[in-house]
């Protein structure tokens, strides 16, 4: 009888154990597999490497000694190449290293001829025709103190291309040996580089997406916030606002003006981004504020503190760009209505702004164009008015340069910067822009990719499709290539790859498929599972507990018997 009972209990325990085994070995993996979300493989380790960004910017500098700047003994040791590294740690994840590969050589005969031109501008042009230096590199010609190329009070002439002329000091001050000469030149060449190539402030400003900048002086922050963020394309829209079509019939030759003034600049900027230009005329478009009448000047005035309120009501009329999602640069030409003319913009000191225009950071520019001088008091309305596009485009071009980040910060003393060419931008200015844009693109793309990886890591419910994984991988590859190209000094390729990286990373980040399972809260899952799991698991758990307690008791009995 007892034997039979023990046998039965043993069989029950075996059954309970085997059911538990089936549930654990087959049921749980099956449930796990079937409710799993699909997550494609992401290059996590490479992303982590990118999160810790070590950027190296390399610039090739050629220093050419013209005749009369080096002594024959010094000349024997040239050419030679020197490499200089400059390291900056921006924050714990980001470090910058600037490498200047400086090659010293003496001028060729043709260059000597070019340097013998009467003016610096002509010398600059003929040096450019001799050899075109690649994107991102610089040539500094060291000319003797006696040279007549530069005016008396100027030591450095910055040309329109990638060349600069540097006047060397008197022989006695420089010293005899080449080392003395070089150590005399080095800080001055560096100063030239700061102007014509990347400077540390530019690059750290470009990193603002990654690195929280310590609040420096107000001016530099304003400077860095003014320009548009780097983007693969921009839409430029010129709008003519005519709030009073009953009085003014305005004609503007925008097609011609764009061809003459804007297109040359954009052609130069083509490697940076794609630009598209359009224009429109808006009627009955009012400014958001009522200008105040200034009886002393018998003119209406807009104060600088009310300018902030001008844009919003106008913007509702501007219309968004239907055909693309690139940022839009708006340039508005506002012709005040006949009853509110003339209208002047005042600055902080209550002085009239000579250009009668202002710009709004990362938005565009507005110019007020008074036409009340074009007709007399007894003119028959509507009056036909032709707008002087040269005047308008001069202002808009300057604003466009500012908004695109072509900086024209004041040069150091004793520097002479060549005036703008017809293209509106010098080659070295373009290079500066390309340096900072490449760095900015890399910074933005790395932040996007790392935060995407972090997000996907944190929320396990998000499905990662193959196309997203592919975008992420291509963004990572492009980023690595961009960093490598930057390191080897190929600026043009670096920019190209950084643009590709930014496109791919944005596409991955904003892919709609990432949102699908984002909101699948755990409490709802429990509500579905509990009706099945609770009644099934409780008996299994109970019988397992019982088996354990039985076993424990039996062991205790055995111990007792042994004692």
């Amino acid at each position: 009888m007892l034997f039979k009972t023990v046998n039965l209990r043993r069989r029950g325990q075996l059954a309970a154990l085997s059911i538990a085994a089936v549930v654990i070995l087959i049921g749980v993996p099956l449930w796990w597999r079937t409710t799993e979300t699909y997550r494609a493989w992401l290059p996590v380790s490479q992303i982590q490497e990118l999160a810790n960004l070590q950027l190296q910017l390399s610039a090739d500098v050629e220093v050419v000694f013209a005749r009369g700047t080096v002594t024959p003994e010094q000349q024997k040791k040239v050419p030679l190449t020197l490499t200089q590294d400059d390291e900056h740690v921006v924050d714990e994840d980001t470090a910058l290293r600037y490498r200047y590969e400086t090659r010293y050589r003496t001028a060729t005969i043709m260059e000597e001829d070019a340097l013998n031109q009467p003016t610096a501008a002509e010398a600059d042009l003929s040096l450019h025709t001799l050899s075109e230096s690649p994107c991102g590199s610089l040539v500094v010609y060291v000319i003797p103190e006696s040279s007549s190329l530069l005016p008396e009070d100027v030591d450095v002439y910055v040309g329109q291309r990638r060349t600069a002329l540097l006047r060397i000091g008197a022989q006695t001050r420089v010293g005899r040996t080449l080392e003395q000469l070089l150590s005399h030149l080095e800080p001055r060449v560096k100063q030239v580089l700061q102007v014509m190539s990347f400077s540390h402030t530019d690059i750290t400003a470009a990193l603002s997406d990654r690195v929280r900048l310590s609040p420096g002086n107000k001016e530099s922050i304003a400077d860095s916030m003014r320009a548009f963020k780097s983007s693969p394309g921009y839409e430029i829209t010129f709008s003519l606002l005519n709030p009073d079509p009953k009085s003014h019939r305005l004609h503007w030759d925008i097609e011609g003006a764009v061809q003459t003034y804007i297109q040359p600049l954009l052609r130069k900027l083509a490697p940076l981004a794609n630009f598209s230009i359009d224009s429109q005329t808006l009627y009955y478009a009012m400014l958001g504020v009522n200008p105040r009448f200034d009886s002393s000047r018998s003119a209406y005035t807009l104060n600088s503190d009310s300018l902030a309120h001008v844009i919003n009501p106008v913007e509702a009329r501007l219309g968004s760009n239907a055909a693309s999602s690139n940022p839009v640069l708006n340039f508005l030409l506002y012709v005040p209505d006949a009853h509110h003319s003339p209208l002047h913009i005042n600055d902080h000191k209550k002085q009239e702004v000579p250009s009668n225009a202002f710009h709004s950071p990362r938005w565009g520019g507005i110019m007020v164009y008074n036409v009340n001088d074009f007709y007399g008091p007894e003119a028959a309305f509507p009056v036909d008015i032709n707008i002087d596009m040269a005047k308008v485009m001069g202002v808009f071009l300057a604003q466009l340069r500012l908004l695109l980040g072509v900086q024209s910060s004041a040069p150091p003393p004793r520097f002479l910067v060549a005036p703008c060419s017809s293209a509106g931008i010098a080659d070295w200015e373009l290079d500066r822009l390309m340096w900072s844009r490449s760095v900015e693109n890399i910074a933005t793309a790395t932040t996007t990719i790392t935060s995407l990886a972090q997000l996907l890591d944190q929320i396990g419910n998000i499905v990662i499709n193959d196309n997203i994984a592919q975008q992420v991988s291509s963004a990572v590859t492009s980023l690595q290539l961009a960093v490598a190209e930057l390191e080897s000094g190929n600026l043009r390729f670096a920019l190209q790859y950084s643009k590709e990286a930014i496109l791919a990373s944005e596409r991955a980040f904003f892919d709609p498929s990432l949102l699908h399972l984002l909101y699948f809260p755990d409490d709802q899952k429990f509500a579905i599972y509990i009706p099945l799991f609770l009644p099934m698991c409780v008996p299994i758990l109970l019988s397992l507990l019982k088996i354990v307690s039985d076993a424990r008791q039996r062991r205790r009995e055995k111990h007792a018997k042994a004692d």
Binding site: Q280, T281, Y283, Y284, G319, A322, A323
Partner: protein
Amino acid sequence: ACSNIRGVFLVFFFLERKLWNLPLLYDFQEELVIRPLHSGDIYASFQFRTVWETDFTRGNKVSHYRLFPKSLGQVISKFSVRELHISFTQGYWRTMQWGQPFQPAPPGAELWVWFQDSVTDVDSTWKELTNVLSGIFCASLNFIDSTNTVQPSASFKPLGIGNVTDHRFLRYATLPREIVCTENLTPWKKLLPCGSKAGLAVLLKSEKLFHSSFHSQAVHIRPMCQDWECKTTSWELRQTLNVVFDLHTSAQGKREWSLFKMFSRTLTEACPLASSSKIYIDITDNPEQFEVSPATPLLSQASVLGDRRTFSVYDLTQQITFGTVRSLNLLIRWKSSEGDMLRPLLHGERYVAGYGLQTGEIHTLMYNYHPYRSFPVLLLDSVPWYLRLYIHTLTVTSKGKDNKPSYIHYQPSKDRVRPHLLEMLVQLPPNSVTEVTVQFERALLKWTEYTPDPNHGFYVGSSVISSLVPSIVAMDTNSTRERPLFSSFFPCKEESSYFVRVYTEPLLVNLPTPDFSMPYNVICLTCTVVAVGYGSLYNLLTRSFQIEEPNPGLAKRIANVIRKMRGVPPL
């Protein structure tokens, strides 16, 4: 009802612009037609036309806009659109009470687009275009996808120039459920050069416009001939807005209308950019039925919709129109409510028959009221896939006899991919009703495919009946002559007939609808059943059963307790 005025004053206007012989690069016209209806309601039809001599085709980039809105211009050039017609309508046009409208439109949203033949992937372009338009007009056009898009083979021919007949480049979709309101009107008004600041558009106040029996706003873009030889082409943007104000809700039952009563505004000026700005009042029934004040000496006649109508014309570009008070408030006062309306020659109706939630039958009725002429009509039906049409049950009968369509184009649906498309050419005998019936089965949807309010029912878009109806009067076939805008919308090829498009009512069909808490209930119930079955099986397998000694009686237990206390072995 012919009046003697009709013969006396006949004034035709030609715009001075043509006499100057200047190259016409862009031009803007605005126009309002007011037609008092026999029911006492009033019909107001606005048209704004912007013409621009430019070329969006041939891949050249158009980027400098003056009168033409930039947003639409960008859409045309980006998506290589040849023609675009979009309409938003609230309410149903009652043809039998109100006559034919100048621009017919189905309830909800309708969009049809002809693409240029340079477009390679029409479907993806169409998808992108609907998304962009959805943003421009603040409408749910993004719900247009392959399940409600069709390619009609014959019903929607281009209205502008270009003899494209390859319907691969045509897409047509309707959203009968779309609600039209202020948020659609505001972007529509923004496309006008003068906005709502000057000209006729100041009348467009949404609080009045949407307090009406019928409201329809549309945008039509098409290439046009500039001269009759068609040497130069220009692009026409026509914005139309049609509204019918109800006698009882808007006029408190008084048969007396004024601009102020309709729109709560009066007119003070024309849009300064408009080359022509006119108000036409249909006074064909005057003076027997109603009078108009202030009176105008300018009259105009136009053949419109197969009838010669007389209009009083108010030219807003002339200062004299506004009189001494410098504001124009037209007044229309009825004298009697008698008189008959000329019955429209073509009319359509549609309804669903049958009972239960399994099958049903769609009936489409087409009325030809012409006393002695028969004419052919094209019927287009686009039915969603979840109504499975039994095309073998299609019957067409007129006057009790079978009427065999001379052309049938049928494209069967694919579940969750594309709708049914049924197009046929039917000859309507004189003075008859033609009935088209087809049976269908209602499909069961997946539970995520139901709309948020499934018990409301599912809409099926209007049928479209397009026809060349025999005209009583000679129609004007010269497309380049200056005509009022309302009579120049559909191009007219021959004098003896005119084009009419009639939309039937949309259908509201109930589909078998589950109880939506059902999935959770089912989960709970099955889990409980499984758990109970599993529990008993588990118990059977794991418990060991043994016979237990029957419990000793109470007396015996008490005796045992006493014996224990005494130290005696128990019983």
